[in-house]
């Protein structure tokens, strides 16, 4: 049992034994004098506070951009943290900084450090490419109000072509330093500020939650962070599970795709895309790159939000939820977890251990559609995910129509599914299912969309699903207006 958290801040090893569970990384950094990291929104949307977190993944050091404003300091345990002050300086600019100067990527300059950090992470990412859509995705968590982004994208392209800088060269020595921080110990800190627990295993977590059933479980903090920064809520006891090895399991085997509670959207994206390409594409539109680097699928489930994008996409895929209390484990269909608004099927001391997507039936046709005011980094007005299996006679054998944003919980359109199952998959059935959808849901009017829009679009998405099942291949895409699906 260790009673401190440890991480590298640039070159310096930081060890903290008197840290509050709700201490945000941004406030801590700025208090430390690292004022290059800015507060723009304090809710993980604008990216002015973007920093880079380096971690050991296997034997490799992986750099990820995250939002410092909604990272809680204990989450940094075992990592190396880099801020704008670490990557380059006036006499020795990093290639990203050099390109941003040369190509006029900064105007007011306030968002710039955050952009630079996202760009540094992307320059070192496995998926880096100079494709516009890939760069858009890498920069999806950084808002700029001055430049219109064009010069920043140009700078990104120029920086991708540059050779390694001293910052990157120094990374080679980082693996051993991070390795030395991995002691396999639980971390527990109890101070007047509150209690912090970082489990080294799922069993440790299970035990701790039984002893302290009032514990708040935090993985990526992309939701809980806002409880702190916006609602000013106190967090007296928190278990930070984001780096718990057992919970980081991501595997595909005969039982399907297993996604542990600490697996981030970023980490799961490739596996999901391999299983269901449309789900993979959807993940690319959930939150932003820094959010996906922190947020977990299981956190998106566990918090019970009616507007999370993951749950409907998973429900349509027939996902099963794995819950655990002590040694006691149970598995339920995901949709049964959501009992009512703000109420989930989770007992005191129980936690979400994983979600699994069982092997898909042969011939299943799966699509997911996200509708929001803005393409990237927006909360859906409607999220629809559909899975359909039609037999050789054209009769629907299986239909799962899942929606987010349409009701108080993510849920299936039971009446519309009823219309489809056993019916011939043609336009008359589609029309009947569209009508049934109106009975399935009574959506809300809010700032994202009216009830009318939600209802109309939900039905129209069923139309799109039908047309795509009939061979329609053109779909609107950010990269040039049209794309083939």
């Amino acid at each position: 049992m260790r009673q401190s958290i440890r991480f590298y801040l640039g070159e310096r090893l930081v060890s903290l034994d008197n840290v509050a569970p709700d201490q945000t990384l941004l406030d801590w950094l700025r208090h430390e004098g690292r004022t290059g990291t800015k507060e723009g929104c304090n809710e993980g949307d604008c990216g002015a506070c973007t920093v880079v977190v380096a971690r050991l993944r296997g034997d490799r050091v992986v750099l990820k951009a995250v939002n410092a404003c909604i990272q809680l300091l204990p989450m940094l345990d075992g990592a190396a943290l880099f801020t704008i002050e670490d990557v380059g300086s006036a006499g020795a600019l990093h290639p990203v900084q050099e390109a941003m100067v040369t190509l006029n990527g900064a105007q007011c300059g306030f968002c710039t450090p955050g952009f630079v950090m996202s760009m540094v992470a992307y320059r070192n990412a496995d998926e880096r490419s100079d494709d516009d859509a890939a760069i858009d995705s890498a920069l999806s968590g950084n808002l700029c109000r001055c430049t219109g982004y064009a010069p920043i994208v140009r700078a990104m392209k120029q920086a991708l072509a540059a050779p390694d800088s001293p910052f990157e060269t120094a990374l080679s020595a980082l693996g051993a330093k991070l390795e030395a921080l991995q002691d396999g110990e639980d971390v527990a800190i109890e101070t007047s500020h509150g209690a912090i627990f970082l489990p080294a295993s799922a069993a440790s977590l299970a035990r701790y939650l039984q002893e302290h059933p009032d514990t708040l479980i935090v993985a990526g903090a992309t939701d809980v962070g806002l409880w702190v920064t916006k609602a000013m809520r106190a967090l007296p006891r928190v278990a930070f599970i984001g780096q718990c090895p057992n919970l980081m399991r991501l595997e595909r085997d005969d039982e399907g795709l297993h996604i542990g509670a600490a697996v981030t959207y970023d980490a799961a994206r490739e596996a999901l895309a391999a299983l269901l390409p449309d789900f993979g594409a959807l993940v690319g539109r959930i939150g932003s790159t820094p959010i996906r680097n922190s947020a977990t699928l299981c956190g998106n489930i566990a918090n019970g939000s009616p507007i999370g994008d993951g749950p409907p996409a998973l429900i349509a895929a027939g996902a099963m939820l794995h819950l655990r209390r002590g040694a006691e484990k149970r598995v339920i269909p995901l949709e049964r977890y959501f009992l009512a608004y703000g109420k989930q099927d989770r007992q005191a001391g129980e936690f979400v251990e994983a979600v699994t997507i069982p092997p898909l039936a042969e011939g299943i046709f799966y699509r997911s559609y996200k509708i929001s005011k803005r393409f990237d980094q927006d909360i859906s007005a409607v999220l629809a995910a559909f899975a359909l299996r039609v037999d050789d006679e054209g009769i629907v054998q299986e239909a799962r129509l899942a929606f987010g944003g349409m009701a108080a919980t993510p849920c299936r359109a039971v009446r519309a599914e009823g219309v489809l199952i056993g019916a011939k998959w043609h336009e008359a059935t589609l029309e009947a299912a569209r009508l049934a959808l109106a009975e399935d849901f009574t959506p809300l009017n809010d700032m994202r969309a009216s009830a009318w829009y939600r209802q109309t679009v939900a039905a129209n998405l069923l139309t799109r699903f039908f047309e795509e099942s009939q061979g329609e291949t053109m779909r609107l895409a950010k990269a040039g207006g049209l794309a083939h699906v």
């Binding site: 004022t35 007011c108 300059g109």
Partner: protein
């Protein structure tokens, strides 16, 4: 470019040839500081000892009498040092920037919008102050609240500013006689500035009542004056300083004053330094935004698409106080012609009072809303006549020597709109692409494409004539280094860079020799806001004046000492050429100093030629116009209303650009900001007047992937300003925002395809996916009905 713009240039030393490399290519003076995180914004400054933090407590009601305020629990929270209320204000509880006396700093008996500050907590930590404000118990007696334009008009149309009428000719008979006539209404949404750096101010008390402020303000002098007024001090005890803002866009012209005044009040009452930095949600709930408008129009025209008469009322939601709504609604009228000649015309403004945030300056200042109104008329006429909207535009643009008088009786002396549109249409292959996408639309079931080419003509000068003045202060030190200061503020637009360029160019100095310092009321007093795109025009000439004075003294000294005529003395990159001799700048400076001649000068400038009389609606409010045109192509999803901006081409007139890279950056950024305003940026209030889109999670400014996939921005070449502006450049801050209008029209064009382009879709802004889907379904229904009728 082969077609050059004929534009006579007066021999006044300001000819474009005076502008030279390499200063034109200078990077932003803070670029390296920006990218390394070493550029200091106000919240980054080292904090003074004992710094206190101020957080405001806000009204929860849109319109109510305050019955009682119980702050006992607020005061009791450990760490709370003091709570500020209206009673604590030693001077005037008043912050109206236009002396309308309608904007108390802290509400006393009456609250007029949700988010109006009632009190402020001063605490040792910001987090404590944020928690403390939630402990207040305020009892309200609610009053009827007017939240939007329609309810304001239905309830007597109370205004915050006098209506303005502009008229020329006799509009009613002209409309009656017109062969064709159409009426309609148009709704244009507001816009949150979303400067990345929120409102912030730091106040430090000094000796003998002095108060020093660091305020993220576009208008340091106004901040100084209001702080002085709130504290009951003369102006000379208050100094306001700002090195740079993290974005402004008009949102820190008057809206910065609240933080500055409350921080100063806290500092004054406690004797300790105090900082007020708003949380983003508070910032969006408290501060004003771009005005939303509702326009009612009546247009008469011919079958050939010639506009004969226009009658329009432009009504704006102004919020609870006047703020800058008067000049904003005026400027909407000044631009409701955009680039078109209306033979008989009448415009009326209506600055409606509502129980919402007090709307304020935002890049364009009402002008873009006027332009959208003008462009709706073009669209109506195009659909009514079956013409290409571009042809309707070309037929109606201002002429030269005829058809050249605006609705405010100013002669347009240099209309180049037709040339700009024609050049752009050729460059971007508008006509062929328009046909190609119509072919696409004829076979596409669920996706439609649209295109539009829209011009902008934007009037440059503050319409409040007295604002068109500026000062500068230039010091040459004995080592040959130069410090320049001026009345303008840097918010990312590159103003400081351009000012450094002028000094460098005049003295022929390298970048490291010229240092620009923070804007401060202690160096240049009585300044105007950095607004109305005027920063470089006004301050650049003031800097030039200061530099010219010093140069004049140096030349006179050298002429006498070396006994050469002054015309044989020139400042070159090699040094100062005096006859046949080259003397280094530094050596000459030293000799001038030694001769006891001043190396410091204060410069001044006022814009010539302008005048404006609102009472008669006549004058020459603008020194000149800036022109441009944008062509946008979009794809629209008919099932959802989602869309993409596929290609944008812009040709823009920056005169003889002071810094082409900075100006192109302004144009690119302004376009995206304008497109965002008209598409994804939607402000939503609920029935209680609470703003529901009060953070970036709910208010969606463009993200990286929203930029046009193909984005070509070009400056109009060989187009020096006809007027004697600094090196014949043109202002570039606001005009290009209007290029976003092309996106609205391209979306409308895509929808019009559903009715075979027979009717105007009447697409309102913002064209969110929801608004688009509603409009799509309305036009589809109209097409079904008219097809049914024609069968």
């Amino acid at each position: 470019m082969s077609d050059t713009i004929a534009s006579p240039v007066a021999p006044d030393g300001l000819s474009p040839s005076a502008s030279a490399e390499p200063t034109r290519n200078m990077k932003h003076e803070s670029a390296v500081l920006h990218v390394t995180g070493r550029a200091l914004y106000i919240d980054d400054l080292p904090e003074p000892k004992g710094l206190l933090h101020v957080v405001p407590g806000l009204s929860e009601k849109a319109h109510a009498r305050i019955v009682s305020i119980d702050l006992a629990a607020v005061r009791a929270l450990p760490g709370v040092v003091r709570v500020l209320t209206a009673q604590d204000i030693p001077g005037e509880n008043q912050t109206s920037p236009v002396h309308a006396n309608d904007e108390p700093l802290l509400a006393q008996d009456l609250v007029q919008h949700v988010g109006q500050p009632i009190f402020a907590v001063v605490a040792t930590e910001r987090a404590i102050a944020r928690r403390a404000v939630k402990l207040a118990r305020i009892v309200y007696e609610e009053l009827p609240a007017i939240l939007d334009i329609d309810s304001a008009k239905a309830n007597g149309s109370a205004v915050v500013w006098r209506p303005l009428t502009m008229a020329r000719g006799d509009v009613e008979p002209a409309l009656a006689k017109a062969p064709r006539r159409l009426q309609g209404t148009l709704t244009i949404g507001g816009q949150e500035h979303f400067y990345l750096e929120g409102q912030v101010a730091l106040a430090q008390p000094g000796e003998a009542g002095e108060m020093r402020l660091w305020s993220s303000t576009q208008h340091p002098s106004e901040t100084q004056h209001l702080v002085a007024s709130v504290l009951g001090l003369p102006h000379h005890l208050v100094t306001t300083e700002i090195r740079r803002m993290g974005g402004g866009f008009g949102g820190k012209e008057s809206q910065a004053n609240g933080c500055a005044c409350l921080a100063a009040l806290a500092a004054s009452l406690t004797g300790q330094a105090a900082k007020m930095r708003l949380d983003r949600d508070d910032d969006m709930v408290i501060t004003g935004k771009r005005h939303d408008f509702k326009v009612a129009y009546d247009v008469g025209f011919t079958d050939q698409g010639d506009i004969l008469a226009v009658d329009m009322e432009l009504a704006a939601r102004c919020g609870w106080s006047a703020d800058l709504s008067g000049p904003v609604t005026d400027r909407a009228l000044f631009h409701a012609d955009n680039a078109y000649f209306y033979p008989d015309v009448r415009f009326r403004s209506l600055a409606l009072k509502t129980n919402t945030q007090s709307n304020t300056a935002f890049r364009g200042f009402g002008g873009p809303q006027g332009i959208i109104a003008a462009e709706r008329l073009i669209e109506e006429i195009a659909h009514a006549t079956g013409m290409d909207p571009l042809d309707v535009r070309l037929r109606n643009v201002y002429g030269t020597g005829e058809r050249d008088v605006t609705p405010y009786h100013m002669v347009v002396e240099d209309s180049i709109t037709d040339l700009v549109m024609t050049q752009l249409a050729e460059r971007c292959d508008y006509r062929r692409r328009r046909q190609a996408l119509r072919d696409f639309n004829s076979t596409s079931r669920t996706l439609r494409k649209g295109i539009a080419l829209v011009p902008v003509k934007f009037g440059i000068s503050f319409t409040a004539t007295h604002y068109n003045q500026a000062g500068a202060l230039v010091h040459v030190y004995t080592d040959g280094s130069v410090q320049v200061n001026h009345g303008g503020t840097e918010m990312g637009q590159g103003l400081h860079t351009k000012m450094v360029q002028i000094v460098r160019h005049e003295f022929a100095l390298p970048a490291e020799s010229v240092r620009i310092t923070a804007t401060t009321t202690g160096k240049v007093p009585n300044t105007s806001a950095t607004a109305a795109s005027s920063g470089a025009d006004l301050n650049g000439m003031a800097v030039l004046d200061a530099v010219s004075q010093i140069k004049g003294r140096m030349v006179a000294f050298a002429a006498e000492k070396w006994q050469v005529p002054p015309e044989q003395i020139a400042f070159t990159q090699e040094g100062v050429r005096i006859g046949d001799e080259i003397v280094s700048f530094r050596d000459l400076v030293w000799q001038v100093y030694f001769a006891r001649i001043s190396l410091s000068a204060s410069g001044f400038y006022k814009t010539p030629k302008i005048s404006w009389d609102a009472a008669t609606g006549r004058g020459r409010p603008f020194y000149y116009f800036a022109y441009g045109a944008a062509c946008a192509e979009v794809t629209l999803d008919l099932l959802t209303g989602e869309n993409t901006i596929d290609r944008v081409d812009i040709l823009h007139d920056a005169g003889e650009s002071l810094n082409p890279a900075i100006d192109i950056g302004q144009i690119e950024g302004a376009f995206v900001q304008g497109a965002g305003w008209l598409t994804t940026e939607e402000l939503v209030w609920d029935g209680q007047g609470r703003l529901r889109t009060h953070a970036p999670s709910t208010y969606k400014i463009p993200a990286c992937s929203d930029r046009p996939r193909i984005f070509n921005v070009t400056l109009l070449e060989d187009a020096p300003n006809r007027e004697a502006t600094i090196y014949r450049s043109k202002a570039v801050g606001e005009p290009p925002l209007c290029h976003g209008v092309a996106v609205l029209h391209a979306l409308s064009d895509a929808i019009a395809s559903l009715d075979a382009y027979r009717s105007c879709p009447s697409l309102d802004a913002p064209a969110t996916p929801e608004t688009l889907l509603r409009t799509i379904m309305r036009v589809q229904e109209r097409a079904r009905r008219s097809d049914g009728a024609s069968v």
